[in-house]
């Protein structure tokens, strides 16, 4: 219907482009500039051309010999994968409890889980730091994972999708003698593949981009994540823009690649989550 209206007023289409083009440019240009700078040779680093005139991987090579980039990327991958898996698992189970049963204090518990959003990281960071160090985990990947075993965001999102799942299907399975465990893993989870995949990507990206826990809990270069690697170049005396942009690009590439492949699902689930 709205397309009809737009057809009546061709100016509206141009207006939309006139608004969106600068917005898209502002959004994407800094990222583009990061990649371009990372590919420039050192003597050309101050070039203003919007593309690298003589692209080289020198900056990447420099960054890789300056800090253990591969170990950091590997650590980031392990941490993000473990945290994502744990958060998905705990959220699937908890969401099933809320979606399937009415039980004592269920609303209060749901509210308590939602309320964890209001607790600033800075309030719990000292107690959590103390706990992790008592567990003897400082400077390990496990230290990063254990405080992130459950995500309130994941639980809330999954309760929504499980509640909107047709209850007839579940009832039918129930009639056939399927227990809760079986219904959850054989019917709900396979059918909720799309929202689960989108959620997994969001959780993965947010763990991948995590910066403050690793900063607090890791000590040595070899056991930390790539975000801390960027920070090492940022705080060094003098600005080595080329290597700094190279390591920033390396930290962004996996996330951007994941996004490029599953762009629509990521946007849809983010926007849906925001609307709720």
């Amino acid at each position: 219907m709205t397309t009809d209206v737009a057809a009546h007023r061709p100016a509206a289409g141009w207006l939309a482009h006139a608004v969106m083009m600068p917005l898209a440019f502002v959004s994407i240009f800094p990222v583009w500039w990061m990649f371009v700078t990372s590919l420039r040779p050192e003597n050309d680093i101050y070039s203003r051309l919007p593309w690298p005139s003589a692209p080289t991987l020198d900056n990447y090579a420099y960054a890789i010999q300056a800090i253990p980039v591969w170990a950091m990327l590997w650590n980031t991958l392990v941490y993000s994968a473990l945290a994502t898996a744990a958060q998905l698992l705990t959220a699937i189970l908890a969401a099933y409890a809320f979606a399937r049963w009415r039980f004592l204090f269920d609303r209060a518990l749901f509210a308590l889980i939602a309320l964890t959003w209001l607790v600033p990281f800075q309030v719990v960071m000292i107690p959590n730091y103390v706990l992790v160090s008592q567990m003897g985990l400082i400077d390990t990947i496990a230290a990063l994972v254990v405080p992130n075993l459950a995500s309130a965001f994941a639980i809330l999102l999954l309760v929504q999708s499980m509640r909107s799942f047709p209850s007839e299907v579940i009832e039918a399975a129930h009639m056939d003698g399927a227990g809760h465990w079986r219904i959850l893993w054989r019917i709900l989870v396979p059918n909720l593949r799309a929202p689960l995949a989108a959620l997994a990507i969001l959780l993965f990206i947010s763990s991948w981009n995590d910066y403050f826990w690793p900063l607090l809990l890791t000590r040595s270069e070899r056991s930390t994540v790539i975000q801390i690697g960027i920070q090492m170049f940022l705080t060094e005396e003098g600005n080595q823009w080329g290597p700094l942009m190279a390591i920033s690009s390396l930290a962004c590439l996996p996330v951007l690649a994941l996004y490029a492949v599953l762009q629509r699902q990521v946007i849809d689930s983010f926007v849906k989550a925001g609307l709720k």
Binding site: T2, A6, L15, A16, V19, M20, L23, A24, V26, S27, I28, V31, W33, M34, R48, T90, L93, A94, A97, F98, R100, W101, F103, L109, L112, T116, P120, V123, V124, I126, P127, V130, L131, P147, N148, A150, A152, H180, W208, N209, F212, Q227, I230, Q231, L234, N239, W241, L244, M245, S248, A251, C252, V255, Y259, I267, F270, V271, K272, G274, L275
Partner: protein, 311 residues
């Protein structure tokens, strides 16, 4: 006494009967997530509350000394506290145009965009959100560099004085606000767009039939129907804005120069880990939590009063 004695047994019977009828299964399903949230959020919250009445330098074998409400008193008298609070307000007010006003305007002006172009723009404006904050900080520091940054090259080419975006006490906070907002403009726009798409088109058609102009349709129909999502964005900005800027402050300015870009969250970080004063940091954290909690309750109450619902 006799009364309670006679009432208690049947009451207990009812209670235990009722408890027995409660299914056990949901608790089992809930247990892993609940345990994680209790251990890593609620118990620490209690511990932070306890710590806030004590003095401790965070070394494992150092003694913890009870100091009553002294941490709170000294915090509230701290000269930096006032500045950080004022700056937190500047951050919030500065962020609102980027996270609310601009996205609402952009979404309304572009709601007729359909098909391929729409998907391309959506895909592009979302990118800043998924870029790692530290990487974003690095890129912006490069673009805003006073000597060789792209922006200052542009200013010089126009014959203007270069600006020290991240060093000038008058500019720094605005640069950090911009970087924080840059990550969120596209995301907010997408949320408002999705909410616009949910508006029943027959409402707008009907208004057009009655001869309403485009501006009147926006003013009288779209904006009121967008009010829940606008409130949501305002709420998120107020509650989380200071937190979002945290990484950029830490990586780019450490609150400087002269505390001009410091906010309440960053001040807290400096107390806890810069000064190793766990009591102070916890007290500041509790003040924050209580303060923002009250703001959240007030805003939610207001939201229910003011927003307009379609159904």
């Amino acid at each position: 006494m006799t009364e309670t004695a006679t009432i208690a047994p049947p009451l207990r019977g009812v209670l235990s009967h009722w408890l027995r009828r409660q299914p056990l299964a949901p608790w089992l399903y809930l247990a892993p997530a609940a345990a994680a949230l209790i251990v890593w959020i609620y118990a620490p919250l209690g511990y932070a509350l306890w710590l806030s009445f004590h003095e401790w330098n965070m070394l494992p074998f150092a003694s913890i000394r009870s100091v009553g409400t002294q941490n709170y008193e000294r915090l509230l008298e701290l000269p930096e506290m006032g500045q950080a609070l004022r700056n937190t307000l500047v951050y919030l007010v500065g962020l609102l145009p980027l996270t609310v006003v601009l996205p609402v305007a952009a979404a309304i002006l572009t709601h007729e965009l359909k098909g391929r172009w729409r998907n391309i723009y959506r895909g592009l404006i979302f990118v800043p959100l998924i870029i790692a904050p530290v990487a974003a900080a690095a890129v912006w520091r490069w673009i805003l560099d006073p000597d060789f940054g792209l922006l200052n090259t542009g200013l010089k080419a126009l014959g203007l004085e270069p600006l020290r975006f991240l060093q000038d006490p008058d500019l720094t906070i605005w640069s950090i606000i911009w970087i924080t907002g840059w990550k969120l403009i596209g995301f907010s726009t997408l949320i408002v767009s999705a909410s616009l798409a949910n508006i029943n088109p027959s409402l707008i058609e009907a208004a057009r039939m009655d001869g309403a102009s485009e501006w009147q349709v926006t003013r009288r129909i779209r904006l009121p129907l967008l009010s829940p999502v606008i409130f949501l964005l305002i709420l998120l900005t107020i509650l989380l804005g200071a937190q979002w800027s945290f990484t950029y402050i830490h990586v780019l300015t450490q609150g400087g120069p002269l505390g001009t870009s410091n906010n309440i969250y960053y001040l807290l970080w400096q107390f806890g880990f810069g000064g190793l004063a766990a009591g102070w940091a916890s007290a500041a954290g509790i003040i924050l939590f209580a303060g923002f909690g009250l703001v959240a309750v007030a805003l939610l109450w207001l939201m229910n009063k003011v927003t307009f619902h379609d159904n």
